[in-house]
Symmetry: C3
Subunit: 305 residues, 3 copies
């Protein structure tokens, strides 16, 4: 998708399943299917992927907060299974063969994961399945309601954990806890020992989660460098496979950023004991060295007419 607008109008994108709004440098992505427990359908996936793709490239945006209506029955009840598993597959899947299928939860995960801005999930209700794996795991920070029921039911439904959760969850909290969650197929509270380390902050009331996430987002937006954040996310997730290789990569990051405006401002503000005023933006100030990694083509192969 090509978005030429440098200042896209988020109310004019035609998204029905989500509502995206800008509060200065903080974007809020709100699931818009409260009556359907914010369950995930192909149209929801399409809107989320489109939104994170634009938010990634909109220089005004520094932090993206994903949330839901805290009065809804759930933050996200998982995939909509009202028409069984068949609802997961497209006409193109049936034409090309289901083995060419690309899991829709995984496309959401990739869209959030690839967003070079800070991403936060404000989980102000229960969540199940892709409501955890696709909406929460790829975010940088997760805020949660203490009363949330968090369900990982995959092996109890005869399928596998999807949305690339078998990649992300062991890396986020270690294999012991990830295996415990995914192979038990259980439902857990945020205070479960199995979930330790996954959530950045926990709140006793549903209505407090989003305001806290927004306050955190605003503070980060005001005080972090857009280029510094994008480089750091890339170093973390697209790093070298040896410590020596990573030394060469982060040296390159230091060399590049230290010569730019944000680093000069960072050092100056530090000296003057004042708040920073960063102005470097990704469209102009991100080194051509980024991206240094290669990515597999995950598009569905079309072999049949």
């Amino acid at each position: 998708m090509s978005v030429k607008m440098s200042h896209p109008d988020y109310s004019a994108q035609g998204w029905q399943q989500i509502v995206v709004s800008l509060d200065g440098p903080v974007a809020i992505v709100k699931l818009n299917r409260a009556k359907q427990r914010n369950s995930i359908t192909i149209p929801v996936v399409r809107d989320l992927v489109a939104a994170y793709d634009i938010l990634d490239r909109d220089d005004r945006v520094r932090v993206v907060v994903l949330t839901a209506d805290h009065t809804a029955h759930a933050f996200c009840s998982g995939a909509d299974l009202s028409s069984g598993w068949g609802g997961l597959f497209s006409e193109e899947d049936e034409r090309q063969g289901r083995h060419t299928h690309r899991d829709s939860g995984g496309t959401v995960t990739l869209a959030i994961f690839r967003c070079r801005k800070l991403t936060i999930a404000a989980v102000n209700g229960h969540a199940a399945g892709v409501g955890i794996t696709g909406l929460q795991l790829p975010c940088d920070f997760r805020f949660v309601w203490a009363g949330a029921k968090l369900a990982f039911p995959f092996v109890r439904r005869g399928i596998v954990p999807e949305a690339i959760s078998t990649y992300l969850l062991p890396r986020l909290i270690g294999y012991s806890r990830a295996v415990g969650l995914l192979l038990s197929g259980g439902t857990y509270s945020p205070d479960s020992p199995l979930l330790q380390g996954l959530y950045h902050a926990t709140f006793p009331n549903r209505e407090d989660v989003l305001p806290a996430a927004l306050a955190f987002a605003r503070e980060l937006a005001a005080n972090t460098s857009q280029t510094g954040v994008a480089w750091t996310k890339a170093l973390l997730w697209r790093g070298a496979d040896s410590i020596e290789g990573q030394h060469i990569l982060d040296s390159r990051g230091i060399a590049d950023l230290a010569s730019r405006g944000d680093a000069a401002e960072g050092a100056q503000a530090f000296k003057e004991h004042r708040a920073v005023r960063f102005s470097d933006v990704l469209s102009r100030d991100l080194s051509d060295f980024v991206p240094w990694w290669t990515e597999l083509d995950v598009r569905q192969r079309k072999a049949k007419l």
Copy 2:
């Protein structure tokens, strides 16, 4: 080893070092050397490897629980060093050269690790060395007695942590804790901060560990899909080395499983608010796509006559 029986008789395998019994879909593997503190010898290793190899392929089995007599002096006191380190080496090792040796603890680890069923260690006593690294780390879930002394003495004996523990332990609980355990060579209680996240559940009395593990095993056996579990274990441990690669793999898992009986039953049971009755089995219903990974040949090289 080739086992043709589709319903093997576990009491007729000639194993002396362990006792294997079936309680419906739950298999219990019990160490049978209580008087020798269940220390590990070559014959114990041989029996364990043979048992997990068959349990992996017996369609009746959904969960395997490894345990010991809770009145024994130890769950497992580690390798039997009564004849020094020489006892670790076989005649073949001496003939081919010790550099061709294959660590026996590691063969146990691989046998449990490769078992495509759910695996649980019910650690109802003290454990040392391979009693942790070979018997516990490769299991999906670890249940433990709160009073257990857990010893990692390798560097204090002049050798290295074996049984592939330098691979598994950092992945299970992170490098910081794994390094702390393996390089201190210390003995720890299950409530040690260094062990946080390793054990799924802890029990104050030795005699309560196995019953709790069995109750957990029966619940899992009744409510999880054999094919879903096998796919999930493979995705977790044999995943792609990039997030995009893993997206392609788990998409394949979803596409395959969603078309099979267990997923249909899982969705139907969910709709009808009733318990599942899964019937897919590995010998018939596991996709030919599995295994997608390649494995190194770990057999000892024979170069001398």
Copy 3:
């Protein structure tokens, strides 16, 4: 650098920025810039790299403790930014182009990381930036003062986390916590949930950190095998990329070490219920099989005259 002395005299190395002393098998490396809050400069880096390089090869040394004056304002306040970011770059950097720069914090990290002895950081004061990433993360054990302010300010200064921290921190404590620390850019206490698992021990008073670290170091030095430790560190950090490959590697470690003096002594002392007296040393008793891995050349490329 080539150091031919088998018993180097640490007081005669001409190091000004650090003081290195030997207490039997325990070496103490003390930062020597208390008045400058032990901030890191190019000369400090040069001395630290030289010291760990020698300590790695001095057979007398079994444990290295890195610390500072507990009455200093900080254990280490990070990079010295008194002349801005320019101070990070050398004349050679400017001549060859800053893209050939090698981050100096990373060279400290590599020097400590490559030291084959046990390494401990005794963090008896506040620490920021490279004072955490370069001085603490590469150590095997971290002891800390409970009152320490630990700052990860990189993205708030317009640069990236350096000293190979984007490699080490996610592996040490998992991606969820590492991302939380590095992308928030915040300052945390040792009891923060984000830091759980990173520190081996915490102490209420600054003056208690070093004595406790030294007591721990002496006990380890007396009771661990130098070759066993070196092999274990290599297996942990330079392991194979598959579980089968690691099985072959640790089998090799067992085969090699079981035939040597320390293992014989370890088994004998175990039988006789007495303390070990290990005497194997790296210069004589480490197998030629080590190192089995290859390392990237991280030296700065010189392309200009």
